[in-house]
C-alpha cells in the first residue's frame, strides 16, 4: 500500500506551518534571511534544505470592487513519482522506493553526484552543500545551541541530495508526516494514495458543482511524459503553470534510446570514414 499526499490547495491559508514543521522535524537549517518582494513568498523554491514550499500567486482582477481578486496558495513538495526521474538517474542506488511506496534518498549512500538534481522534471531535489555554505545566518547572533539543533541531522553528511522523505522515520513509527500534522485546515491530507485519489475526485466533482470549474487535479491520474501518477498529487484552482508546476513534465530516461541511437549512427559513420581514410595510401 503506497502512502502519499493529497494537497488540496483550495483549503490552503498560506500559513507555512507545513514548511516550519518539516524543517523542525528534519532539523534542516534556515536558508538565510532575504526579502524577495514576491508576494509573501520568501522561500522561493523547494531545495535541498526546504522540503515544503508554499507558493503565493496574486491574481488581482481589474474590477474596481475587488471581488474577483484571487490570492492562490499552494504547498509544494516532492511528488514521489510513480516513475521517478531522480530514482532512475541515481547511479549509486541511494534513491530507492521504500515500503511506503515513497521515493527515498539514503543519505549515507548518496555520493553527491548531483545527477538526480537535473533528472527531476519538477525541480524538486537539490544538493545540500557542506553546511558552512548553506547556513547563511550570522552565527554571531545565533545562540550556539540553536545553531547546533538546526544542523545535527545533516552534520554527518555534507554534500548530499536532499528532498522530502515523506517522513519515512515518522511513518515507520506509525506517525503522520510532520507537515500534514501541522496543517490547520487539512489542505495537506496524508494517507493511502488510492483512497486519497478517490477523495480528491469527489472533491473536484463537488467544487465543479459549486461553480469552481477551474478546479483540477494534478498527478492523481497519469500525468504523461512517462511519469505515471504522483503519490503526492494536488488539487489546483488554476492551470499548473500558475503554481510554477510543469504543464508537460517528461521522464528524462525516455530520451535515452534516441540519444544512444544517434550516438551509434555517428560513431559508425565516423568509423567507416576513418577506415576509408586510414586504409587509403
Amino acid at each position: 500500500m503506497a502512502t502519499g499526499f493529497f494537497t488540496d490547495t483550495t483549503l490552503c491559508i498560506g500559513c507555512k506551518a507545513c514548511e516550519v514543521a518539516c524543517k523542525q522535524w528534519n532539523e534542516l537549517p534556515s536558508d538565510g534571511f532575504s526579502f524577495t518582494g514576491d508576494s509573501y513568498d520568501n522561500t522561493v523554491e523547494l531545495s535541498g534544505t526546504t522540503w515544503r514550499h508554499v507558493a503565493f500567486v496574486e491574481q488581482i482582477a481589474a474590477t474596481p470592487d475587488g471581488v474577483e481578486d484571487r490570492w492562490l496558495m499552494s504547498s509544494d513538495v516532492c511528488k514521489h513519482c510513480e516513475n521517478a526521474g531522480c530514482l532512475e538517474a541515481c547511479p549509486t542506488g541511494a534513491i530507492i522506493r521504500n515500503e511506503f511506496g515513497s521515493v527515498y534518498i539514503q543519505p549515507d549512500v548518496c555520493n553527491g553526484c548531483g545527477y538526480c538534481v537535473v533528472s527531476c522534471p519538477f525541480g524538486v531535489v537539490d544538493l545540500i552543500d557542506s553546511l558552512g555554505g548553506t547556513a547563511k545566518y550570522s552565527t554571531a547572533n545565533l545562540q550556539e545551541s540553536r545553531l547546533d539543533a538546526s544542523k545535527t541531522a545533516l552534520a554527518h553528511t555534507g554534500g548530499v541530495a536532499g528532498k522530502c522523505t515523506l517522513c519515512y522515520d515518522r511513518q515507520t513509527l506509525g506517525m503522520v508526516p510532520a507537515c500534514a500534522k501541522a496543517c490547520p485546515t487539512d489542505s495537506i491530507q496524508f494517507g493511502d494514495v488510492a483512497t486519497l485519489r478517490e477523495r480528491a475526485k469527489e472533491r473536484v466533482t463537488t467544487l465543479h458543482a459549486r461553480g469552481e470549474t477551474s478546479a483540477q487535479l494534478y498527478g492523481a491520474d497519469d500525468i504523461g511524459g512517462g511519469i505515471g501518477t504522483l503519490n503526492a498529487f494536488f488539487l489546483l484552482k488554476d492551470r499548473p503553470s500558475v503554481y510554477n508546476l510543469p504543464e508537460r513534465p517528461v521522464l528524462p530516461s525516455t530520451r535515452q534510446p534516441d540519444g544512444y541511437a544517434a550516438a551509434a549512427v555517428i560513431a559508425v559513420g565516423l568509423a567507416i570514414a576513418g577506415w576509408a581514410i586510414f586504409r587509403s595510401a
Partner: protein, 303 residues
C-alpha cells in the same frame, strides 16, 4: 514576478564535470583511432602506440576529476555499488571503467611490444581488446551526450539526439587533434595527414549537427545560441574550433608547406580544435544552467 521564478534546478556542475565530459570524448575518439591503425604500417604502429598510451592516461585521470567533483575518494566507490541501465551516469561510469581496463591492457601490450615492458606481457591483452576499446570508446564519447540529454534540463532534453551525436563527433575531432599534435611532436607526419583528414570529417559532421540543433531547438536552444554565452561558443567552438582548423587542415592537405611551418600549422589547428571541444562541453553545461532557469521551457518540457 512569478515569471522569474525558476521551476527546475540548475546543474551543480562546473569545470571538473566539463573536463570529465571533454576527456571522455577524446578517450572515445582515441579508441577509434587505435582500431583504425594498420600495424603493418610503421607510422600507423607509432600512432597506435601513442593513442593507446594517451587513452589510458586520460582514462586514469578521469576518476580523480570525478572525485574532485564528489568531494571524497570513497564516494567514487558508491558508483560501483550497482549497475543501473536506466542511469547514464551509472552505465557511463562502468563504461569508463571497462574502457580503462581495455585501454590499460592495450597499452601494456604496446609497451611490451616496444620493449619497455617484458615481452611476455604482450599476451596480457588479446587482439579482441583492440576492437573492444573502440566500441567502449564510442560508448564513452556518446554517453557523455546521453548523460546530458536524459535529464530535465530543457536545452539538453531538446538535444536528445543532437547532443550525443555532437559529443561523439566532437570527441572524435578532438581525439584526432590530440593525435595530430602528438604525432607532430613525434615527427610522425604520415600519421598526421590521416588524423587531420579524419578530424576534418568529424569536425564537419559536428558543425552540421550543431547547426541542425540550432535550427530545430527553437526556444529550448536559445540559452545556447543566443545571448552572451553564444558569443564565446561561436568564436571559440564554431569558428575557432571547427571552421579555422578545417581551413588550416585543408591548407595542409593541399599546399606543400615547409616542414616547420606545417608542424606549426598542425599545432595551431589541433590546439584550436581541442579548445573548441572543451568550450562545446562548457557551453552545454553553462547554457544548461541558464536553460533550467527559463520558466516557459521548463513548464512544457521537450519530449
Amino acid at each position: 514576478m512569478n515569471d522569474e521564478k525558476p521551476l527546475l534546478k540548475a546543474p551543480h556542475w562546473g569545470a571538473n564535470v566539463t573536463t570529465y565530459l571533454f576527456l571522455g570524448g577524446i578517450m572515445g575518439g582515441l579508441g577509434l583511432i587505435q582500431l583504425l591503425c594498420d600495424p603493418r604500417d610503421e607510422s600507423m604502429r607509432k600512432l597506435r602506440r601513442t593513442t593507446r598510451i594517451a587513452s589510458f592516461l586520460l582514462a586514469a585521470v578521469n576518476p580523480p576529476i570525478l572525485i574532485s567533483h564528489l568531494g571524497r575518494p570513497e564516494r567514487f566507490l558508491h558508483m560501483m555499488r550497482i549497475v543501473k541501465l536506466k542511469s547514464p551516469m551509472s552505465v557511463g561510469v562502468w563504461g569508463l571503467v571497462l574502457y580503462s581496463g581495455a585501454a590499460g591492457a592495450n597499452m601494456v601490450r604496446e609497451l611490451a611490444q616496444s620493449g619497455v615492458l617484458p615481452s611476455w606481457m604482450r599476451h596480457f591483452a588479446p587482439h579482441a581488446l583492440t576492437f573492444a576499446q573502440a566500441v567502449l570508446g564510442a560508448f564513452t564519447a556518446g554517453y557523455t551526450g546521453v548523460l546530458l540529454s536524459a535529464t530535465a534540463v530543457p536545452l539538453w532534453a531538446a538535444g536528445k539526439r543532437h547532443i550525443p551525436a555532437a559529443s561523439i563527433s566532437s570527441g572524435a575531432a578532438s581525439a584526432c587533434a590530440l593525435a595530430s599534435l602528438l604525432s607532430v611532436i613525434e615527427g610522425n607526419h604520415e600519421a598526421c595527414v590521416k588524423t587531420e583528414r579524419l578530424e576534418m570529417v568529424a569536425s564537419a559532421v559536428e558543425f552540421a549537427i550543431l547547426m541542425d540543433f540550432r535550427r530545430v531547438s527553437g526556444d529550448y536552444g536559445k540559452p545556447m545560441f543566443e545571448g552572451p554565452r553564444a558569443e564565446k561558443f561561436r568564436t571559440v567552438t564554431l569558428i575557432g574550433g571547427i571552421a579555422v582548423p578545417i581551413a588550416l587542415n585543408l591548407l595542409g592537405q593541399i599546399l606543400p608547406l615547409p616542414k616547420p611551418v606545417d608542424a606549426a600549422r598542425t599545432v595551431v589547428a589541433s590546439v584550436l580544435t581541442l579548445l573548441g571541444g572543451y568550450v562545446l562541453r562548457e557551453t552545454f553545461i553553462e547554457s544548461g544552467k541558464a536553460s533550467a532557469a527559463v520558466r516557459q521551457t521548463a513548464i512544457s518540457q521537450p519530449t
